[in-house]
Symmetry: C2
Subunit: 162 residues, 2 copies
C-alpha cells in the first residue's frame, strides 16, 4: 500500500464504520419501528433513512462516480421536511435504495486512486478551488461521514434500549 493510500483508506474505513452502524440499526427495526420519532415532534427514523439515502445518492455525481440511482427520493426526503408530504415511498423501497446506494457508492470510492481524492468536487468552482484546495473530494467524504454520524446518534435514540 502506498503512503497516499493509507490516508484515503483510513478515511474510507471511518465511512464504512458509520454505514455499518446505520445498517445494523435499520435492520434491527421493523417497518412499524421505523415510524418512530427520534424525539417527540422530531424526524421519524423512516425520514432519516430516506434523507441519508438521498444525500449519499447525490455523492455519486458530486464525486464524479456515476449517475444518481434514486433522484425520486429528493422530494420526500431532502427538499421537504418530514411529514410535509404523505409517505409516497414504501419502507421496503427505501430500505432497498439505502442498501443499493451505499453499496454502489462505497465500491466506487474504494476504487478511486488516492490522488483523485484531492481533486475538486462537483459543487465547487475552479476559481474557489484554486483559493482553497481543501474543498476537495476527500472533504466531501469526511463531512458526509460526520453527517451520517450526526443522524446515527439521533436514530440510536429510537432503537429499543437493550
Amino acid at each position: 500500500m502506498t503512503t497516499e493510500a493509507l490516508y484515503t483508506d483510513t478515511a474510507l474505513r471511518a465511512w464504512k464504520l458509520v454505514i455499518t452502524q446505520l445498517d445494523q440499526m435499520f435492520s434491527s427495526m421493523n417497518d412499524e419501528e421505523l415510524r418512530r420519532e427520534v424525539a417527540p415532534g422530531r424526524n421519524r427514523v423512516f425520514y432519516l433513512m430516506g434523507h441519508l439515502t438521498a444525500v449519499h445518492d447525490r455523492l455519486l455525481p458530486m464525486l464524479s462516480l456515476g449517475e444518481r440511482l434514486h433522484p425520486e427520493l429528493d422530494d420526500d426526503f431532502l427538499t421537504n421536511a418530514d411529514r410535509v408530504t404523505a409517505d409516497r415511498v414504501a419502507p421496503e423501497a427505501v430500505r432497498l435504495a439505502w442498501s443499493e446506494v451505499n453499496a454502489r457508492l462505497t465500491a466506487a470510492m474504494a476504487a478511486l486512486p488516492p490522488e483523485e481524492w484531492l481533486k475538486k468536487h462537483g459543487a465547487v468552482s475552479d476559481e474557489d478551488f484554486a483559493k482553497d484546495p481543501l474543498r476537495n473530494r476527500l472533504a466531501v467524504l469526511q463531512t458526509r461521514t460526520t453527517h451520517a454520524g450526526f443522524h446515527a446518534g439521533q436514530i440510536r435514540l429510537a432503537v429499543t434500549k437493550g
Copy 2:
C-alpha cells in the same frame, strides 16, 4: 502545502467543523437548558458535554500530544452513565474544561506533521499495528470526529427549535 498535508488538513478541517458546531450549541444554552435530556429518559446535554470533554482529553496521551488536562471528569462522564452519581462538577467547570481541552488538542493536532498521523496510536500494540497499518492516529481523529457528530446530532434535539 505538501500533498500529504492536504490529506491531513482535510481531516482536521472536518474535526474543527464539528467542534465549532458543538461550541455553538453549548454557547446557545444556559445552565438550566444544559440539564435537558436529548430525548425522554436519555442523556442530559450536560452529561454529553462532560463525556465529549473526557473522550477528547484522553486523545492527548493517545496521540502522544501531551498529558491529560482533566482526568477528574472520567468518573462522572465516562465510567458511569448519566445520573448514576450526583452532579459533582459544576456546569461552568465543564464548559471551561470543554473549551480548554479542545483548544489544546486542536492546536497540537494542527502542529503534527502529516507523516506522524500514519504512526500507531497509543491504544494499539506494535504487533497489531504491523498487521493493520490503518490503526493509526489519523483513524483515531476520524472516528472521534464521527463520535462527536453522533452526540452533536443528539444534542441538536435539545436545542430550542428556531
